[in-house]
Symmetry: C2
Subunit: 261 residues, 2 copies
């Protein structure tokens, strides 16, 4: 119980937030108790669930500041929202960018999220942490707190180039901060199968990574439903439940969860 999964990739716009939300919703649909942690000051995850980040208080930042300052409140449990998507959400807003600076000056600043999650994680089967497009201290905290990291990989050339650096960073975290961290797998995202380019990248990614890193069988294909769902504050499972978009994340949840019964 309380398995922590970080969704990380320093490249921008590769589907981290979309994966955090829809994988979380698919796991909840399977009866898991799911907590999503928005660990990005840009708060796309919080927005996607229909909230106005700047109107929320307290948020993940307040818990982070309290933890660094050794204050007992607020805890992560105190900021959690029960969302209509069937998942719990620990929301963020732009104040979390101050959080990265606070972590910088804190003692053992890489281990603060781990401490923040310690108590609340027991109340959930899965805790999914959505990261920002950077390998800075917020992301390192997520990797240091996680049991596993899932890497969304956009099916194009430039995005592939960044994977190496991410894997090296994961290796550093494993050696110095979190021996138990494993790579859950690489999820190919935003694949436009009308183009040979995407199909080539998917094929190349599997051969380049397989052996070293698991690549999920599920490939999430480009689908406008992913762009529309955030406007309604719903996961794609609720917004367009009988489309291939929803089916993709249900299949991913099956790959992740199916082995763990």
């Amino acid at each position: 119980m309380g398995r922590v999964l970080a969704i990380a990739n320093q490249k921008g716009g590769v589907g981290k937030t979309t994966t955090a939300l829809n994988l979380g919703a698919a796991l909840a649909e399977r009866g898991r108790r799911v907590l999503l942690v928005d660990f990005d000051p840009q708060a796309s995850l919080t927005l996607s669930l229909g909230y106005v980040p700047d109107d929320l208080s307290p948020t993940v930042y307040d818990v982070l500041a309290a933890t660094i300052g050794e204050q007992s409140s607020p805890t992560l449990g105190d900021v959690v929202l029960e969302t209509p998507a069937g998942v719990a959400l620990a929301p963020s807003n732009i104040e979390l960018s101050q959080g990265e600076l606070d972590l910088f000056r804190a003692t053992l600043g890489e281990l603060v999220l781990r401490e923040m999650l310690e108590r609340v994680r027991r109340e959930y089967d899965v805790v999914i942490v959505d990261c920002q497009p950077s390998l800075g201290l917020l992301t390192v905290n997520a990797l240091a707190a996680a049991d596993a990291v899932l890497i969304p990989l956009q099916a194009d050339y430039l995005a592939m180039k960044g994977v190496d650096l991410l894997l090296r960073t994961v290796g550093q975290v494993q050696r110095k901060l979190n021996r138990g961290l494993r790579i859950e797998g690489v999820l190919l995202t935003m694949a436009d199968y009308r183009t040979i380019h995407a199909r080539d990248v998917v094929t190349n990614a599997r051969s380049a990574l397989n052996g070293a890193v698991r690549v999920f069988d599920t490939v999430v294909r480009v689908n406008v439903k992913f762009k529309e769902a955030p406007m309604t504050g719903q996961s794609v499972l609720a917004y367009a439940g009988d489309t291939p978009a929803a089916a993709a994340y249900r299949a991913l949840a099956e790959e992740l969860d199916g082995e763990r019964k």
Copy 2:
């Protein structure tokens, strides 16, 4: 001469690098002397022009460190590469992430890029600075050094939400660091006109922003040529010069440049 244009948007994967490269190439095609500055440690711009970032030395980071340390060398001119795309490139690699930390501790750390550009900018008509997906010190340096900022805006709901924060940051930089900074305009990117969603977002963006901020007439539409060109180290003008992909950035260059003859 020596006009500095920052390409900025803290949201990931919205087309900053693609715009920096292809707008630069289109301006060069019109006879302008163009310098591209890769100010992102992930070095997508450097990669897109066919280089292996980790093999390059010295890079933008070395100039930044020298400038902070008040050393006369290397200068930005010393690291510039003449690329086959007809543009000059000041390349980066992952060492530039150390640069953000160095700027943090430096005196007047927001004004270092401005100083780095001072001499070399006179040798060019246009200097285009490609930023990372963040509003941290590297991006602030770019905004503080720029005459104008061009904002690529992906034609979807989540990306639209980030514009407000970016405009507020630009306002802060204008008041505190760079009175002359203006907004060149917003460029709608990655629009998939087969979907009503993209067309709606384009329409909404124009009405939401127009008046406050110029929105270019040019809209860059989704086209797989943009994903393929980086694999060949060419701009899309060279790789697929007679396609709508190339035409879009030529039209943008016309909008930008045409007024300035």
